[in-house]
Amino acid sequence: MMLSRAIRKIGEGKRLSPEDALLLFKSDDIFMLGRLAAKAAEKKNGDRVYYVRNIHVNPTNICVNRCRFCAFSRSKGEPGAYELTIHEILEKLREKAPYFDEIHIVGGLHPDWPFEHYTKMLKAIKKEFPYAFIKAFTAAEIDYMQKISGLSMKEVLIKLRAAGLDLMPGGGAEIFDPAVRGRLCPEKLSGRRWLEVIREVHRAGIKTNATMLYGHIEEYRHRVDHLAKIRALQDESLQGKKGGFQAFIPLPYQPKTEIGGSAPSGLEDLKCIALSRLFLDNIPHIKAYWVMLGEKLSQAALLFGADDLEGTVMEEKIAHMAGAGTKEAMTEEELKHLIRKAGKTPVRRDSFYRKIDEAAQKRSA
């Protein structure tokens, strides 16, 4: 059997082919997939499950793209459209300071903000909160910044870094397949362009994540294609010195959007986590994003290959406007409790997956 060959490969520590991944996706033996993926996760991360004290900031929902799976974006002047000034962003952060180690910033492609607005934003944040790492801007935003600035990609990245950007999230990848992508988000940068941008980002020595939006209109083969492209790019990036993907984050589609339909089942979510862990042998972490999965599924995902539970988040808008029924924040205690009840060891991490030793921190304080 082809499937048993794929399973044997995993046992021997060999890399799965796209064909193997497709067979595994089609299997409904979730127990086998869970066990294999949990083993793979354990090999990489032991019984550790990471979380970060982070805060999400979405500077604006005004966006020149109108992706059909997005319920967050607005056109300028439309009811519900908002844009935060840099001052307002700082105010928001002050409310929660100093209880975050990472600031996550993603937003719409604003038609009027010049590139300098973004560097100013980063500088102002870094100046006031130097202890937190700034994880900001998806490939879609970076691509847009290059266009509006007229600079080369390299220059854009140098300026962002100089302004305070430490690493990048993995959004905007959605699903790479051009036909599916064309139906989901025709205005957004292409899958090929996403990969190009991230390649340059990695070359510039910047670490990122990668995502995949699944469970809408795509088929398993599109997921496998997506995973294969991510893995190939990571192979390339690891040849270089510093950049690369730190975590892969499968994002389940939220149905309260223009596309409608229903969300992928909880079983499908667990399968997607497991397959991501099994296929992406060169990416250290698989994240169960509780904002979209819900805290219950995220916890179950820890037994299906995930080793990262995102973080405290503190305020989330994008998924919630698409109907995510989860809360907008989790406390560190809640995160730790979920992890411990899964039989794992919670590790508070920084943006680069280094353990934050609270005792040492207190001593130095």
Binding site: I30, F31, G266, L267, L270, K296, Q299, A300, H337
Partner: protein, 348 residues
């Protein structure tokens, strides 16, 4: 091979979630090889929230005269039933508090009137604490009480009020509620009268693993009796988790998803004589309820057109019939609407 209590304890302590899940899934498949997942279209009607039991985990009850206390009028009740019939509902789940002002004539009147107007609807009503309350008020035996209610139109009895069948746990959570043996006795008498009932278990509060296994064992033993008596019995077992929000016990951390799945799986493994196990989307949410279908559950419960009790504790997942059909389809199972007795009515 039937599991003994000790073996169940050992199994639960030793095995991981995936092993328990796979065992439960295989048993579920053996009992339900058709790949069908059922649900019932019904409405939860709470005829009163006035209750003398004041359980510490309950955010729904009120005292008599307290603000928000109510007894549903007949008009409201009939309107709710008509709305249920309009969406092809087959059952009403009629439950309420232990209201000291209501006597047995209230209940029989209600049943007779409902059956007269809506003969097709199944009245799934009055959990054991209510039955026991009515019996005590009128100094009747449980059997007489059940016979009177059945005669007036009561079709089947929901398994609520079982909570955790351990008197130590009950003392901590619901000291005024009937004891374990009383709950079991109501069900025993109902089964003897040929009635079908369900059994529930609310876990994740202050119980131990031994308590959970004792609970499962009590349900299994009573079902053995019912099977021997060859009359009624339990149609289904429904484990759910304690929801501490807005209650006196809100300091207790609710059971997590993994704990829910483990207990669900153990229930399927232990209860070899109860055919159906329900997933609890009301307490676990849609996605975990879908996962539950591979961890022992074969039924998605009810559409719960109206749910007040769990919602009072701050948990409000709400789903339409279409949502439920979609949710089941998305897991690869075939959805089918059933009646109270698990007869299939319609495939989707």
């Amino acid at each position: 091979m039937r599991l003994r209590k000790k073996e169940a304890l050992k199994l639960f302590e030793k095995e991981d979630l995936l092993t328990l899940g796979q065992m439960a899934d295989e048993l579920r498949q053996r009992l339900h090889p058709e790949g069908i997942v059922t649900f019932v279209v019904d409405r939860n009607i709470n005829y009163t929230n006035i209750c003398i039991n004041k359980c510490r985990f309950c955010a729904f009850y009120r005292s008599e005269g307290e603000k928000g206390a109510y007894v549903l009028s007949e008009e409201e009740l009939f309107r709710k039933i008509e709305e249920t019939l309009a969406i092809e509902g087959t059952q009403i789940l009629l439950q309420g508090g232990l209201n000291p002002s209501l006597d047995i004539n209230f209940y029989t009147g209600l049943l007779t009137e409902v059956k007269k107007r809506y003969p097709s609807i199944n009245i799934h009503g009055f959990s054991p604490p209510e039955i026991s309350h009515i019996a005590q008020k009128h100094d009747l035996t449980l059997r007489e009480t059940l016979r009177i209610l059945k005669g007036a139109g009561l079709d089947s009895i929901p398994g609520g009020g079982a909570e955790l069948l351990s008197d130590r746990v009950r003392e901590a959570l619901s000291p005024r509620k009937i004891k374990s043996s009383d709950w079991l006795q109501v069900m025993r008498e109902a089964h003897r009268l040929g009635m079908w009932t369900t059994a529930t278990m609310m876990f994740g509060s202050v119980e131990t693993l031994e308590d959970i296994v004792d609970h499962l064992d009590a349900v299994r033993s009573l079902q053995d009796e019912a099977v021997l008596g060859n009359k009624g019995g339990f149609t289904a077992f429904i484990p759910w988790t304690f929801q501490p929000g807005n209650t006196e016990l809100s300091h207790i951390k609710p059971a997590t998803a993994i704990e829910y799945l483990r207990v669900l799986a153990l229930s399927r493994i232990y209860l070899d004589n109860v055919k159906n196990i329900q997933a609890s989307w009301v307490t676990q949410g849609l996605k975990l309820a879908q996962v539950a279908l591979r961890f022992g559950a074969n039924d998605f419960g009810s559409t719960m057109l109206e749910e007040n009790v769990v919602a009072s504790a701050g948990v409000c997942y709400s789903l339409s019939k279409e949502d439920i059909i979609d949710a089941i389809k998305n897991t690869g199972f075939r959805p089918a609407q059933r009646d109270t007795h698990y007869n299939l009515i319609r495939y989707f």
